[in-house]
């Protein structure tokens, strides 16, 4: 369904439809008035009197609108009454027809669509704050939109399913989310939805159709090459195609999970650190047990199973057995042909000696059945469950698996990590390179300080626009260490509840977990982790000169230019030769 993009002015559409009723009304009024001026009446002296146009129009106006003030200026003659009777019926028909047309017009789908499209275009055009263009409001889209909303970013949604698009109005977002019900494959439409809008800071293609995501990726690459495009791709072919024209972020939920799983198998602490840092804001990560090495059974060798087997092969401590209904197409692994939901196939695959099982078929009921049967045979089994449809989530919650694989959540996590904190990806890559004890120590320290609730992770750039106060001070030659600004602006004896994880310098230099005594330079980019309140306080310190001076020196600046001039305090006036 393509919207009526050319109907930018709905008024023309309405006017065109109202032509017939308006002409009918004018004609009826004209005929009635003319007839009234021609019908002979009698005045109070018994002489013949004709109504003037003025009186006739006045009389018809209040008669046709059913107000009815009576016969003026003299009581009517029978000829006049005969004509007025006719006029009354004529005008009723005229009004009934006109009103009926207006209501039919208001109920008209094409007009409603035109009005909605018009409103959407206006809402997008009027956006004056950074926003993300989200294509596809499925399970993932919903997660991303609510996370963006919580983080204080605006979103514009394009969704082709009317029912899902309608859900957005029911969902209580803090900020208004302009929504258009249309096919995102249309590049014109993407432009109307804000792809080329100066405040658009990213495109997220999350439709469940790979070809649509590809179309969005191409449109984003050609029409708005500067903004990042995040695209979901479920087949390797699509991913390769997207990569071929330079889409920077391609997210395949299965590959992402396989990557996590192999990380979890050889470095559990790094894995926990990663899930803790990239969790959805406002949720708490429960520390699950770590996936054990040993024999693993993979049920279902489809898209998901294949990727997992490939990833787990790399781990030397893991041996894999595959259960699938199809005959073996993988000569390198032990293959049991059969139904994983039954005990026979599981026994044959050696479930009693196995360390873990992955129920990874495309059918949710099958997956649950596999998990329940396998646990009965071996209660110590580590169970990884793949959940295909969100509708079944209550079943998956009721069953206590070790890890639930929900593709929509994986995509949402990944998108948020990329979008909101660009420095997180290099930090996580660095973490993956470190050894296990280092990760475990960092995880213990951070969760000991901030708890297992997903922390706020954000980036700060020491630039003129983002940290004006600090940038100003640094440009005037001040030397400031990290330790000095990580203090609360309300009381500088309190440390802020946040920590710097990563420091990126313009000259490609970077520091992992920089020392508190590290000197800050203008242009640095910091990755911080901590509580939401600490983020607000830190933002205040960076942008407000008074707060910064207090945090650094403990002095309150006199407010206003005049007092600053009068004040002889050398700290108060930001002199160029300071320190």
């Amino acid at each position: 369904m393509t919207p009526l993009l050319r109907h930018h002015s709905i008024i023309f559409l309405i006017m065109r439809r109202l032509r017939a009723p308006l002409i009918l009304l004018i004609s009826i009024l004209a005929v009635s008035v003319l007839g009234l001026t021609l019908a002979p009446g009698v005045d109070d002296e018994g002489k013949v009197h004709y109504l003037s146009f003025f009186h006739a129009l006045y009389f018809m106006s209040y008669t046709a609108t059913t107000i009815g003030f009576g016969e003026i200026p003299y009581a009517f003659s029978d000829q006049q009454r005969l004509w007025v009777t006719l006029c009354i019926y004529l005008s009723v028909i005229g009004w009934a027809y006109s009103v009926g047309t207006v209501f039919a017009l208001l109920a008209d789908r094409s007009l409603q669509l035109a009005i909605r499209t018009h409103r959407f275009l206006r809402a997008v055009k009027r956006l004056r704050e950074p926003f993300y263009l989200v294509c596809g409001y499925g399970e993932t889209g919903r997660l991303i939109c609510s996370a963006l909303d919580q983080l204080g970013y605006r979103a514009v949604v394009v969704e082709c399913d009317e029912v899902k698009a309608g859900e957005i109005d029911l969902h209580s977002y803090r900020a208004d989310v302009p929504t258009m019900c249309a096919d995102a494959r249309n590049p014109d439409l993407l432009q109307f939805a804000g792809l080329t809008h100066p405040y658009c800071i990213g495109v997220i293609a999350l439709t469940n159709d790979d070809s649509a995501n590809l179309a969005i990726a191409i449109a984003a690459r050609l029409l708005a090459p500067k903004i990042p495009a995040l695209c979901r791709a479920e087949t390797p072919e699509t991913a390769a195609n997207m990569a071929s024209f330079g889409t920077r972020y391609i997210i395949n939920p299965f590959e992402k999970f396989a990557e996590y799983l192999s990380l979890a198998l050889h470095a559990p602490a790094a894995w926990h650190l990663l899930t803790w840092l990239t969790g959805l804001p406002g949720t708490t990560i429960e520390r699950e047990r770590d996936p054990p090495p040993g024999g693993w059974i993979v049920c279902g060798h489809g898209r998901f199973g294949r990727v997992l087997v490939q990833a787990m092969e790399q781990e030397s401590a893991v041996s894999i057995t595959i259960i699938d209904r199809e005959p073996s197409d993988d000569p390198h692994h032990r293959w049991v042909q059969g139904d994983g939901t039954g005990a026979a196939a599981l026994e044959q695959a050696g479930v009693r000696e196995a360390a873990g099982i992955i129920a990874g078929t495309g059918n949710d009921v099958d997956n649950l059945s596999i998990a329940v049967t396998a646990r009965e045979l071996n209660p110590a089994l580590f169970v990884i469950l793949r959940q295909n449809h969100y509708a079944n989530h209550s079943l998956f919650e009721a069953y206590d698996s070790d890890v639930d694989v929900v593709p929509s959540e994986i995509i949402a996590h990944e998108c948020l990590a990329i979008l909101t904190t660009p420095l997180l990806v290099p930090f996580l890559n660095e973490v993956k390179r470190r050894d296990e004890p280092w990760c475990a120590a960092l995880l213990d320290r951070l969760t000991g300080r901030f708890g297992w609730q997903v922390p706020s992770v954000w980036s700060e750039r020491i630039s003129f626009t983002q940290a004006p106060a600090l940038h100003h001070k640094l440009m005037h030659g001040a030397t400031i260490a990290l330790r000095e600004i990580l203090r609360a602006p309300s009381n500088r004896d309190d440390e802020l509840a946040c920590e710097v994880l990563y420091l990126h310098r313009d000259d490609d230099d970077h520091l992992l977990l920089p020392d508190p005594d590290t000197e800050i330079r203008a242009g640095d980019e910091l990755l911080l982790v901590g509580r939401q309140e600490a983020r607000h306080e830190f933002d205040l310190t960076l942008s407000n000169e008074h707060a910064l001076t207090y945090v650094l020196s403990g002095r309150d600046l006199p407010g206003g230019w005049l007092w600053e001039k009068f004040s002889r305090d050398p700290v108060a006036s930001p002199a160029p030769h300071e320190r």
């Binding site: 308006l22 004609s27 004209a30 146009f53």
Partner: protein, 127 residues
């Protein structure tokens, strides 16, 4: 031949001719200006305006604008006449008639522009 075009052209030209018919004659002589003709001119002009609704082309917009001007002038003329006949003490004096007729003269100019556009449009299409 297109019936819609016939009706459209008919109303535009009729609005102009009725307007002209009311306008000709001595400007302050009531017997030269029939009030029924003014009434007909107003009704036809209103219908012509509605017929022009909903055309988004440039020419359509100018058409609509000229019609709106004609309506405005004619309705103003009718109001002056109504004031003279019913409200003012002097009645329909030659002075008042001159006012009514000069207003309708303005409307006539707008109607002439409308007809000129109609002709230009027809010549442009060459079909």
């Amino acid at each position: 031949m297109n019936l819609e075009k016939v009706i459209f052209g008919f109303f535009i030209v009729l609005a102009a001719t009725l307007n002209f018919g009311f306008f000709v004659g001595d400007i302050d002589d009531p017997s030269h200006h029939d009030i029924y003709e003014l009434f007909a001119a107003i009704v036809v002009s209103l219908i012509a305006t509605v017929l022009k609704f909903g055309d988004r082309t440039q020419i359509g917009a100018v058409h609509l604008a000229t019609s709106l001007v004609a309506d405005l002038q004619l309705i103003a003329a009718a109001m002056v006449w109504g004031y003279a006949a019913h409200v003012s003490a002097g009645g329909v004096t030659p002075e008042m008639v001159a006012r009514v007729v000069s207003l309708s003269g303005g409307a006539l100019f707008a109607n002439v522009v409308s007809v000129a556009i109609l002709i230009a449009e027809t010549i442009m299409q060459r079909r």
